[in-house]
């Protein structure tokens, strides 16, 4: 049941002792009460104040007592329903399941040079189609596959991206926020008759700006689920120590959780532990580091204990192309998420950090995701699978198992068959042009684009999506966020006979 996410059929990895979990919990409570959080939103501060928090309005600082924190943690559902446009793709997020999503990139890459460049409208839509076809992509994260695409003004990127995903996929959708884009995103979802997961992002350390809080209000008040993220870099915007990083991250996302529960009790929440260390040479986030896996394994354990669904750090590699480094960096991420208690992970398609994405990478990732999903399933131990009677029947050589009904019945569910891995023998490999997984991935990409036809919106839904996009375009034009020149280029691109798909 890949469409529903992977079930972890074993107890999640616990790398912390109970005492350590408790120490981190107490550290988080102390930070929330003693240091507090700067929340630049007067309505939110008043709401928190009315509910027992201490607010310094001049500093816009809220200090949250332990009792409020723990009460709000209890109010948060341990699992929640995430309905998709096609109900067969709907998810239950939480518990012992892992749902995988797309990892976004600012740009695409050129497949010959591996250099980044902006994606075209066509590439964006085709990217969505490919991700819609991949069985291990369980849902879509904000602005995926690309942060934006050619000829679209930056303020419209979030909404054009959502429109593309609603049009070309029937999977569950998550959105971000930028310049009130969530108002139109919610409208679009409601018009199409779907629910979407919103986002409220903190700015570490211990700060949340108005836009993010506004997004929390809008989603929680609309009764929609909300993802609360921070996004620390340890040594930069958080302590360099993993334990200290977890304390601040948890203080941030739990402050967001408290706010959401006070806005609308019982709001469906997905918290994210989005962590990296500072690359102490360049200052950029050192994605792909193994310390991130430690950070997340610990966070997953803590949020499993809280009974709050948790989104793992996005699997961003540091390499610039799918290669040995990229493979191990992504594999460590997803395997840690699979083994420990992560509920979601943004995984497919990221090529270098959050800067690039490519469908070829997503196709390669579909195989490693399938492998981890297979691992999580585990295996059955019973009389039939132990096969003692069969072993007795076959006996020593020349006995073998290849011709047995037991083998025919079981092998396909015991083995995982990757779709684009090279599993040929040397002679076959040499005769077939020494192809590697990347070549097979390219073939699979062509195949998907030829054969996979996403379920289209009804004409009524399509009309609504375009109408809301148009409303947003006017709104941002009036706000001065789209210049005359940008609008002219944008309008010209919309005159394509294949609009909106290319």
């Amino acid at each position: 049941m890949a469409g529903k996410g992977f079930t972890r059929n074993f107890r999640p990895l616990e790398i912390l002792t109970e005492e350590e979990v408790e120490a981190i919990h107490r550290g988080m409570l102390e930070v929330l009460w003693v240091t507090g959080v700067r929340m630049e939103h007067e309505r939110a501060l008043k709401l928190l104040e009315r509910n027992g928090c201490k607010v310094d309005h001049d500093e816009m600082r809220v200090r949250i007592p332990s009792a409020v924190v723990e009460e709000c943690l209890r109010k948060t559902p341990s699992s929640f329903h995430a309905p998709a446009r096609d109900s067969k793709n709907s998810l239950m997020v939480g518990g012992n399941t892992l749902c995988l999503a797309v990892a976004p990139g600012n740009h695409t890459v050129d497949l010959d040079t591996w250099e980044p460049r902006p994606a075209t409208r066509k590439e964006n839509y085709e990217g969505v189609t490919i991700l819609d076809a991949l069985p291990t992509v369980h849902f879509f994260s904000p602005y995926t596959p690309y942060f934006g695409f050619k000829d679209v003004p930056p303020c419209m990127a979030m909404l054009e991206s959502l429109a593309a995903r609603i049009r070309n996929s029937t999977k569950f959708q998550c959105v971000g926020f930028s310049n009130d884009s969530e108002v139109f995103a919610i409208k679009m979802a409601q018009a199409v008759g779907i629910e979407i997961l919103g986002t409220c992002a903190f700015a570490p350390p211990l700060t949340v700006y108005r836009d993010a809080v506004e997004s929390a209000f809008r989603f929680a008040e609309a009764g929609l689920p909300l993802r609360i993220i921070s996004g620390q870099v340890m040594g930069g915007t958080a302590p360099a120590t993993i334990a200290g990083g977890i304390v601040t991250n948890n203080a941030e996302v739990i402050a967001g959780l408290v706010l959401a529960q006070l806005i609308n009790s019982g709001t469906r929440i997905l918290v994210k532990d989005f962590s990296a260390s500072v690359n102490m040479r360049s200052g950029a986030p050192a994605f792909g580091g193994i310390e991130i896996c430690l950070h997340n394994a610990a966070s997953n354990q803590i949020f499993q204990k809280y009974g709050v669904p948790i989104d793992d750090t996005t699997a961003y590699p540091n390499s610039k192309m799918p290669d040995y480094q990229s493979s191990y960096e992504k594999a460590f991420r997803i395997l840690t998420a699979g083994l420990s208690g992560a509920n979601t992970l943004l995984f497919h398609g990221s090529v270098h950090g959050e800067l690039t994405h490519h469908p070829i990478q997503a196709i390669l990732d579909d195989d490693s995701a399938g492998m981890v999903g297979r691992f999580m399933e585990g295996f059955a131990v019973n009389d039939e699978t132990l096969a003692v009677d069969l072993i007795e029947k076959v006996g020593p050589i020349p006995g073998h198992f290849l011709d047995k009904a037991h083998t025919r019945k079981w092998w396909k569910s015991e083995q995982f068959l990757p779709k684009v891995a090279d599993r040929l023998t040397y002679p076959e490999w040499m005769n077939k042009g020494k192809k590697v997984c990347l070549d097979y991935a390219r073939e699979r990409m062509e195949d998907i684009l030829t054969t996979h036809k996403p379920t289209p919106l009804t004409p009524g839904q399509e009309g609504d999506v375009e109408r809301i996009l148009e409303e947003a375009r006017k709104f941002y034009k009036d706000r001065g966020l789209i210049t005359g020149e940008e609008m002219a280029t944008y309008r010209k691109s919309m005159k394509s006979p294949h609009y909106p798909y290319e």
């Binding site: 930056p154 990127a157 930028s178 700006y209 360099a240 102490m280 040479r281 360049s282 200052g283 800067l355």
Partner: protein, 218 residues
Amino acid sequence: MSAEILENLKKAITGYDRERAADWARKAVQEGIDPIKALDVMTVAIRQIGDGFGKGELWLPDLVGAAAAMTAATPIIEEEIKRVGAKRESLGTVVIGTVYGDIHTIGKTMVASLLTADGFAVKDLGINVTAESFVKGINEYRADILAMSALMTTTAPEQRKVIEALKKEGIRDTVKIMVGGGAITQEFADSIGADGYDPTAPGAVELARRLVGTQRRK
């Protein structure tokens, strides 16, 4: 005595110690040490750190730590320079900040540290800096260079706004403008009329030197 004070001032900077750097700078002033000489010693110290970083022997926390110690001591010495009416030589004054709406600090801080380490006088206005604050900063510090950072595609256009604001105030031509950050490209920099762009922090230092017409220090 004065040699000992200057040595301690230098050590405070190479030892990343903000408080001691400020203390020894105050002592230098109290003892009547030539403030130009004190500033020279500080510059030698910070360049030593900058060189270590350039060679890959030191890391970002070392660079930023030393720059912070330097920044703690500099105003004390500068005030004394002003008081005695001496003239200091610097490569130029840079006003730096991350634009309004953008709160990313690390890249900007790194550039500020490396510029400090190279001998520029750097005034860091911080993050989320409005066009008005940039204008004010340029006027107040008589900047030679304005350096702006933007990490997001949605905040990059703010750099254009700042340049427009400078034009409106009639001070565009008094400063060289360099831009950087994850969302910026050479094409974008050209389109908004910036004088320079570089994708890396060490590159930004080279760029700053070119903009003030000074050759790279050997």
